[in-house]
Amino acid sequence: MRYLIRNGTLVDPMHRTTTRSDLLVSNGLIEQLIVPSDTQRIADATAEVIDAQGCFIAPGFVDLHVQLREPGEEQKETIASGSMAAAAGGFTTICALPTSRPSHDSAAVIEHVRAIARREGRVRVELIGALTRGREGSALADMIELAEAGCVAFSDGGRTLADAGLMRHALAYAAALDLPVLVHCEEPRLSAGWAMHEGVVSTRLGLPGFPSAAEEAIIARDIALAEATGARLHICQVSSAGGVALIRAAKLRGVQVTADVTPHHLVLNEAWVLGSLGAPSHAGHPAWLDPTLLPPYAPATRVAPPLRTTEDNAALLAGLRDGTIDAIASGHTPQARVDKECEYALAAPGINALETALGLLMGLVRHGDLDLLSMITRLTEGPTRILGRTLGALQPGTAADLVIVDPEHAWRVDATRFISRGYGSPLHGQQLSGRVMLTMSAGRIAYQHAGFAPAHQL
């Protein structure tokens, strides 16, 4: 199938340019960029035309860590549903954490999951190998075997490897294999029994806290160990201002450390746990969102690490702007209804994030907190570099992984109509602007927004 994408604006994070250009796609590749005035002359009638008027076209987004739940917890998500949700969010590559059951801790599991992904994946699905056997934190996984099986990174998912000695050995192995280690930073003794961020709101609501210090302590430890071993350390979903400062200082020293942040940690904060108990015009949230739509103690707001404060939101944004934070990841963590429709502290942490990530980020762009090019860079070039690859995108001869976004498209989040199977969106009912109209993965249309009916002949 050949497609001609017309009338859009290309956002190119490699060259940091935005240009008006038409795009010809064929055989899964970008065949040609065409100056719009030449399109009539060059393009032939065999291509289907996609009219991207008013939209921008960017390389498909790369998500460094999602939980796909398959195999083992298919009631929460499957590779099919998760990758479809990813396509709807503009992601053309997603990296699955080893949080399935069994976890990605042997070549056999990797082969099995890869076969499912090939068959059912709507976008590219990369696999992250477990750092320790069964993600149990007591013995290293067979890391060489996992690397040979094609894992793009190592991680124990949402668990911190509490044993610092074992962590050092894991980093040494990863360094030798030249693969990044993705870490969740939480000192378990400081976060025991936690329900939310420790601070003003947890004090008011009487909920046990996860202090920022619990994150910072492990970030500091792992930076020291990365420095000692030469490993490529990647901090997943940093949430605290102190964490950003530690990463910034380490980068200045030349440590090989990178970091990502999620849209919800950038924009939402502890006021969302108050829900309707908070003031409607609370200074702690952007005017374009309204946390008082939620009931108090809404389990959809429970996420690990927890939503923190407005000061943390600001520090994360600053880190994103100055390059301390290299990437934006969705942190997609779908949960079952029973695990989200319950008492707050008993609710499973995690936000169903793939389909709202772009809408939240576009809110930041719209309100001048983030420029569009930086946002796209952190969704594409940043994560690709962390995986040790070079983003070759929107150039003739490269894979046609791309997304068409209408930045003005206003929509109301309806979590009951998510493509993802999982529960847990604090954004249900919120009004967002900016939506994916079409996602192309390897030259095939992986997602097309209802009402975006582009295809006709030239």
Binding site: T203, L205, G206, L207, P208, Y297, E343, A347
Partner: protein, 311 residues
């Protein structure tokens, strides 16, 4: 959850109850106390209404208090007690609430070990919900009975110095009293070792006037009311306290401290007490101790709420 004049749907905390409404509840409480002083301690106000006591956490005192209150108003009351609630998942709470609704419950009284559980119940229930204590979050009927007791004894609440001492961090009683006392114009001091209190800024962001103290003797100097909270032995095992003996020396209502209190200074405790830890036997029986009156007033306060919500 916005209170309508004269009638409110739920009582989950005092954060959404104005000073005027608290005043009105205390007035109603006085009338109910009069009812309870009669030989026939019953009025027909809630005849035919179904009240369910949902106790996911055992509390004989509060459960019986609600039960007597409902019976004094001629309501039908049923007790539901679930044990092992810490492993109980919300699915069962939501399901139970829906079932009780189908069975015709009008009012649910809920006690739960998890903060916020009453909001979850209220979200899935068309009737009224009264919080009988949820985790560390709130215990509004306890705070109201404390306010009633203080006002009855001291004639006012405004401008009194109230010292709450003990395990503030884990206390729903402290939080609900903070809302109630500050709204009624009292000056509140929270006194505890740092590990049972947390940073002052965390409290002041919500209750700007509250005084945070780690030194009980200083806090006591001009106290009109001292409210001691129970210290659980688990706090010591968790490393939050060096020893109960040291705690007692620094923060208990001991005979020595009793000597230094003004004759009018009320001694309060929400119970159950650990005598010899946070409060010594001498303080429990002191003439200005009102601990038993608190229990007595609890029934009248709960009657007042049930009456105002469904009467």
């Amino acid at each position: 959850m916005t209170p309508e004049p004269g009638r409110r749907r739920h009582v989950i905390d005092l954060d959404d109850v104005s000073a005027e409404e608290i005043e009105a509840i205390l007035e109603t409480t006085a009338s109910m106390k009069e009812v309870l002083s009669r030989e026939i301690k019953q009025v027909p106000a809630l005849r035919g209404r179904n009240v369910v006591n949902m106790f996911y956490e055992e509390s004989t005192r509060t459960r019986i208090s609600f039960e007597l209150a409902a019976r004094a108003l001629s309501a039908n009351i049923v007790n539901f007690t679930a044990r092992g609630s810490s492993v109980e998942k919300g699915e069962s709470l939501v399901d139970t609430v829906r079932t009780l609704q189908a069975l015709g419950a009008d009012i649910i009284v809920i006690r739960h070990s998890q903060a916020g559980a009453p909001y979850l119940a209220a979200h899935h229930f068309r009737g009224a919900v009264i919080n009988a204590g949820d985790g560390r979050h709130a215990h509004p009927t306890q705070a109201l009975l404390d306010l009633f007791t203080i006002r009855e004894r001291r004639g006012q609440i405004r401008d009194l110095n109230v010292v709450i001492v003990g395990d503030i961090l884990h206390s729903r009683v402290a939080r609900s009293n903070l809302w109630g006392l500050t709204r009624m114009g009292a000056r509140v001091t929270l006194c505890a070792p740092p590990t049972l209190l947390g940073p002052a800024a965390y409290w002041r962001a919500t209750w700007p006037e509250v005084v945070i103290s780690h030194h009980f003797d200083t806090a006591l100097a001009d106290a009109d009311v001292v409210m001691a909270l129970r210290i659980q032995k688990e706090r010591m095992q968790a490393g939050l306290l060096p020893s109960l003996r040291e705690y007692s020396r620094a923060y208990a209502l001991t005979p020595e401290r009793l000597e230094r209190l003004g004759a009018q200074t009320l001694i309060m405790h929400p119970g159950p007490m650990n005598e010899g830890v946070e409060i010594w036997p001498e303080a429990v029986v002191a003439p200005n101790a009102v601990i038993e009156e608190q229990v007595t007033n609890g029934v009248a306060v709960r009657m007042a709420l049930l009456y105002r919500m469904a009467g």
